[in-house]
């Protein structure tokens, strides 16, 4: 098994990514951690048949959302599902400059760097990305991951735990103004704002370090 792994020839960009995550030393101090709030728009919810159309992301560091450190890429569509067009508004031959899935992944990994991923229903977005990585014979992502949904659950009272909260619900609950719902970057920004709010609340209740936060991920399975 080990041998098999060794033989495999990984592309440079993947090796760089793995190296960066493994050697990252900033995780100890929350203010130094670079978080990347991300969202993907996809042709649908089927991991096997659907594809990513767009990845949008924005970085958070030191309790600030850094607009200058944001990311947006549109991907050429092999799979086209006209049903979801009305949700994400990305047409097969729209005006956005589109790149191949591989190019998108290369750009994204370079952007992601050693950052901690933050998303709402992270599992979905990360799985979508991982499937794309699989098609390139690399992956899966080894970045640390947080889910605003789980952080919220950790904060809320027990009877709310079973319910899965949507981004809309949470934005409303925390009075975050919603425009641009269902564009990847727009949702990434909402997620980033939600994350900052939750972080402030979480700090009050728990005192905080990254492992506390990551623990929230296992709330549901427990």
């Amino acid at each position: 098994m080990f041998n098999l792994f060794k033989k495999k020839k990984y592309p440079e960009y993947w090796k760089t990514y793995v190296e960066k995550v493994e050697n990252c030393k900033t995780y100890a101090n929350l203010d130094n951690i670079r978080f990347v709030a991300l969202d993907t728009e996809t042709t649908g919810f089927d991991y096997d048949n659907d594809r990513m159309l767009c990845i949008g992301a924005v970085a958070i560091k030191g309790n600030r959302i850094l607009v200058s450190d944001s990311f947006e890429v549109y991907i050429k569509q092999d799979v086209f599902n006209k049903e979801t067009v009305k949700i994400h508004g990305i047409r097969r031959n729209g005006t956005e400059v589109k790149v191949s899935e591989e190019e998108a992944i290369i750009q994204f990994l370079a952007y992601l760097d050693a950052a901690v991923i933050v998303a709402h229903h992270t599992k979905f977005d990360v799985t979508m990305i991982n499937r794309a990585l699989e098609r390139l014979n690399i992956g899966p992502l080894i970045s640390k991951q947080l889910d605003t949904n789980y952080i919220y659950k950790k904060l809320s009272c027990p009877n709310d735990l079973k319910k899965i909260a949507s981004l809309d619900e949470l934005c409303e609950r925390y009075s975050i103004k919603m425009h641009d719902r269902h564009t990847a970057s727009g949702d990434a920004l909402l997620t980033a704002q939600l994350f900052l709010k939750l972080l402030a609340k979480f700090k009050k209740n728990h005192g905080i370090n990254l492992s506390n936060l990551i623990q929230t991920n296992y709330n549901l399975s427990r």
Binding site: G56, V58, N63, R64, I65, L66, V67, S68, S70, E72, Y74, E96, V97, S175, K177, H179, D180, T183, A184, S185, G186, A188, L189, A192, Q193, L196, K197, A200
Partner: protein
């Protein structure tokens, strides 16, 4: 790369000054470099005396309170809400923060790197001006830079006397036109139907010629050219074109020079740009008729009250056009008061003629309140009083009845002209306000020595009297006596001072509400009580304390005070500026809503308007503080 997030921030910023005057590239650069900051309620953004950050802030959501600590006290200075900028001044002036900023509710801030803005300021003058103005409400020495604080200062300062010559000429915006192939008969029919004396011949939006009544008379009615011919055979060509900003004087010169009676107004003033209107000699005559000296001449010739009423209505139009053209408000006030005084004079003349006998003794007609101060721009109600010479006791009743009867006539006529009766009956026809000299002296003396709340209120109205008609000596005697009374009962000024502080200026605007010092919210802002009266009251009190006579006008009072107290020069100058802005504001509001302009709907104000108003509150606050200290008022309250 497409950047949806930056675009969204761009969309937010573009509505708020100074970002609204930036070009797309500049604003996009700012948007791309913004940091979004989330603050829990109570979180501190920066502390007083802290070194400046690299960013200044604009409130996206929520509210940020600005506080100044002195000793152990924390004074609430201002509150910033959506779209407000704060924390910029120290960055520009390389100074530490003078105030602390704290989230008074959960907030989201956009942090903007100051370096980008500095670059923009250098090339964009509008932004520069806005930034300077925005410092006015939270700068250490707000008066150091008074001239730059108020955007329209240049229009306030200039003193044009020959106003009509500089007024922009009026013209008809929908000129009657036809093509060059139209027959003369058709053209004449169009002119008759539209009731105009001229028609423009146009080709592809450009006017190539004009036909006037005169052409029809000289060339067609004489039989030289048949009516079936095309208009092009008789039209005068080419036409003289001018731009729409031409002044009356320029228009007149152009007509004289070319010996013509019509000018075409085109977009850029050249014959090749689009036609937007036509100006005739008649338009100029009308405009000249609507000037102050014309109106006053007409008033003097007026034969009856209907003519006076008509002229008064014309005065309202004059006021509107002055306001539209941003003519200096002090000048406008002078003109309108002059006309109002002349109207009153004429009305008194008419009334005297109706009396069966001549007045038994000398008398004077006094305008009170805003008319007395010559600050009445909009038509408000009449406040007036009558003073007559002392008479022997046995003649008193007859004399008083005579003047009451006269006053009644005058009040009625003023009402007819359009000045509403005073709801509090402060009119000369009220026996209480139609008194002989000694009675007036006593009246003022009792107000001064027994300063009840009501007496003080009376003082604020009656102290601003101005003689409109009659004997100057009577009024001078009265004024002398008033100053004597004040001199012998100095504490009166403290009472007057206390009254001047009844209405503190609001701290600022917050959402649609005013943040009052006492925390009370109103959705309508009382411009008169909250902003104009404090300045008027302060000016009156201070001039009285210096015994400055014959200074009844707020601006003149402050000007006189500047000479008396050069050490407070800056403050008084800023009071004058604030007063001018507020008076203009009130007048515009009054014209817009056809009322007294006293109340402002706050949600109709734009951000720059709010900022400008807010800038006026600062001098009010400062002059009230001066009164407070000078008259030791905190101990009286």
């Amino acid at each position: 790369m497409k950047n949806t997030i930056a675009e969204r921030i761009f969309d937010f910023l573009k509505d708020f000054p100074p970002f609204d005057v930036l070009n797309t590239a500049q604003l996009l650069e700012i948007s791309t470099n913004i940091k979004v900051k989330y603050l829990e309620k109570g979180t501190v953004v920066f502390n007083q005396n802290e070194q400046p950050h690299f960013h200044f802030y604009i409130v996206k959501d929520g509210a940020i309170g600005l506080f100044r600590s002195m000793d152990d006290d924390e004074i609430f200075v201002d509150i910033c809400d959506e779209g407000d900028i704060f924390g910029l001044r120290p960055l520009i002036q390389n100074d530490h923060y003078l105030m602390s900023a704290k989230a008074t509710e959960e907030s989201i801030l956009y942090a903007i790197p100051v370096e980008i803005l500095k670059e923009i300021i250098e090339v964009n003058d509008k932004v520069h001006k806005y930034i300077i103005a925005s410092f006015s409400s939270n700068i250490k020495t707000p008066y150091a830079n008074t001239k730059a604080l108020f955007g329209n200062i240049d229009t306030l300062d200039s003193n044009n006397i020959n106003l009509t010559d500089f007024q922009t000429a009026q013209y008809s915006k929908n000129p009657v036109t036809c093509s060059k192939n139209t027959s003369i008969q058709e053209a004449a029919q169009i002119m008759s139907a539209k009731r105009v004396g001229s028609i423009l011949i146009i080709e592809e939006k450009n006017s190539i010629g004009i036909i006037t009544d005169k052409d029809l008379r000289l060339k067609v009615a004489t039989g030289i050219i048949p009516i079936s011919e095309k208009v092009s055979t008789i039209m005068s060509s080419p036409v003289i074109t001018v731009s729409k900003n031409i002044t009356t004087a320029e228009a007149q010169i152009a007509m004289l020079k070319h010996k013509i009676t019509h000018l075409c107004i085109t977009k850029d003033g050249t014959p090749h740009s689009e036609l937007i209107g036509i100006m005739s000699e008649h338009d100029i005559v009308v405009l000249q008729g609507n000037n102050p000296s014309g109106l006053i001449k007409e008033l003097k010739r007026a034969k009856d009250i209907t003519a006076v009423k008509y002229i008064r209505e014309k005065t309202s139009n004059l006021l509107k056009s002055y306001m539209r053209q941003n003519i200096p408000i002090a000048f406008v006030a002078k003109i309108i008061s002059e006309i109002t005084d002349t109207i009153t004079l004429k009305v008194i003349e008419f009334s005297l003629n109706e009396m069966e006998t001549e007045p038994p003794v000398k008398f004077g007609w006094l305008a009170l309140g805003s008319q007395g101060r010559k600050e009445q721009l909009l038509i408000t109600d009449q406040d007036n009083a009558l003073i007559f010479e002392n008479v022997a006791a046995e003649d008193y009743n007859v004399t008083k009845n005579y003047f009451l009867k006269l006053a009644q006539k005058i009040n009625n006529k003023l009402h007819l002209v359009g000045y509403e009766n005073c709801p509090a009956d402060m009119m000369a026809s009220n026996p209480k306000w139609c008194l002989c000299l000694d009675e007036w002296k006593q009246q003022f003396d009792s107000w001064i020595t027994q300063p009840s709340e009501k007496a003080i209120m009376m003082c604020t109205i009656f102290f601003d009297f101005n003689l409109v008609y009659g004997d100057k000596k009577l009024v001078n005697k009265l004024a002398k006596s008033i100053f004597k009374s004040i001199d012998s009962y100095e504490i009166f000024l403290n009472f007057l001072g206390k009254n001047a502080l009844i209405n503190p200026p609001p701290l600022g605007f917050f959402r649609q509400f005013l943040v009052e010092d006492n925390g009370e919210n109103k959705d309508q802002f009382d411009l008169k009580a909250r902003a104009l009266m404090p300045l008027i009251d302060a000016a009156r009190l201070l001039t009285l304390s210096h015994q400055l006579k014959n200074k009844n006008n707020t601006i003149e009072r402050f000007e006189a005070l500047i000479l008396k107290e050069p050490q407070n020069k800056d403050l008084y100058f800023s009071c004058i500026d604030a007063f001018k802005i507020l008076l203009r504001y009130r007048t515009n509001q009054g014209i817009k809503h056809n009322d007294s302009g006293r109340y402002i709907e706050l949600n109709t104000l734009t951000k720059p308007e709010k900022l400008k108003l807010k800038g006026c509150f600062k001098p009010i606050k400062d002059i009230q503080e001066l009164l407070n200290v000078r008259y030791n008022l905190s101990q009286m309250l």
